[in-house]
């Protein structure tokens, strides 16, 4: 993976290639182990229900943020840069959810000497619910 996309070839409305994961304890426990994020409602169904989620334990917002970063990185390749990613945590990530990162190019312009592409991003679940609406800015090379 080197350069995948070039600034001059980007069009408004372009979309990110698909990036999906089915999530549950295998993913959440690994994330807890690297981020030291051992919160009872992410680890235990009874604790999840006590926190108000009838289906039990639920996933970390930070992991969905990582999925957005990973999808962007897969798209832009190693020679380009992610300059900014922001999102809001909305719908809960339930066990077994199929999460898909989506992204659409809204704008591109040269700013502060950088060729920046502005995107709307999201993490949608299998019902199409917006679990993590947000935005991103990537810096791309020209061919």
């Amino acid at each position: 993976m080197t350069t995948n996309v070039y600034f001059d070839e980007i069009d408004i409305g372009d979309t990110l290639p698909e990036w999906s994961r089915t999530t549950g304890f295998m993913e959440w426990n690994r994330y807890a182990a690297i981020n030291d994020e051992f919160v009872p409602f992410h680890m235990d169904d009874a604790a999840g229900r006590q926190a108000g989620n009838e289906q039990g334990a639920f996933g970390m917002g930070n992991l969905r943020y990582a999925y957005i970063v990973n999808a962007l990185k897969q798209w832009i390749g190693d020679e380009a840069e992610i300059r900014e990613v922001g999102c809001q945590y909305r719908a809960i990530n339930q066990q077994g959810d199929l999460l898909t990162v989506t992204g659409t190019v809204l704008d591109k312009r040269v700013e502060d000497g950088e060729q920046r592409v502005y995107l709307e991003v999201n993490v949608k679940n299998q019902t199409g619910a917006d679990t993590c609406p947000g935005h991103a800015i990537v810096v791309l090379p020209t061919r």
């Binding site: 295998m26 690994r30 030291d36 917002g61 930070n62 990582a66 020679e79 900014e84 922001g86 945590y89």
Partner: protein, 166 residues
């Protein structure tokens, strides 16, 4: 005489608004921490080689391994008390129960990537807040800024995090 309006804003918040807290420095970033971070966040698929294959990474513009932008060098502090995010206590609920907290989201602006051997220094300040009557009752939304710099003083990441307390 009217009853004072409910607020979760404390005197400490008013005093600390806009004031940077003390610097905290991470343990050195290790290649193995980067590899494991990448494996966990890409599970069950293989992560990109820029995060674990030094020979490949040397062929890129970075000249070596870099960490994923979302990598957290502050995870796993030995001293559990001091390395955590500096939280400023908010007020109490009228029913006496402690406030519940939620992560509302964040915007991270990235500068230089983190690499093995880097020492990251963080500082935090409470920027602003807002109180609203929401679905969860009286709710306090705080905006906190967290800035990370590397050992050369270059900006690595600037986070604006939204905290929700109700």
């Amino acid at each position: 005489m009217t009853e004072a309006a409910l607020t979760y804003v404390t005197e400490q918040m008013l005093q600390k608004k806009g004031v940077w807290g003390e610097d905290r420095t991470s343990p050195p970033v290790a290649a193995s921490d980067i590899r494991r971070w990448a494996i966990a966040t890409h599970w069950p698929e293989q992560p990109p080689p820029i995060y674990w294959d030094e020979a490949y990474a040397r062929t890129t513009r970075w000249g070596g391994l870099v960490a994923p932008p979302d990598f957290n060098p502050f995870a796993w502090p030995v001293n559990r008390g001091t390395m955590r995010r500096t939280g400023i206590p908010a007020g109490k609920r009228p029913d006496g129960k402690p406030l519940q907290g939620m992560n509302g989201g964040q915007t991270d602006t990235y500068g230089e990537p983190m690499r093995p051997g880097d020492l990251i220094t963080a500082r935090t300040r409470l920027l602003d807040w807002e109180e609203k009557e929401g679905r969860l009752g009286h709710t306090l939304y705080t905006t906190t800024e967290i800035e990370w710099r590397n050992q050369r003083g270059a900006l690595v990441r600037r986070r604006r995090a939204i905290g929700i307390r109700y």
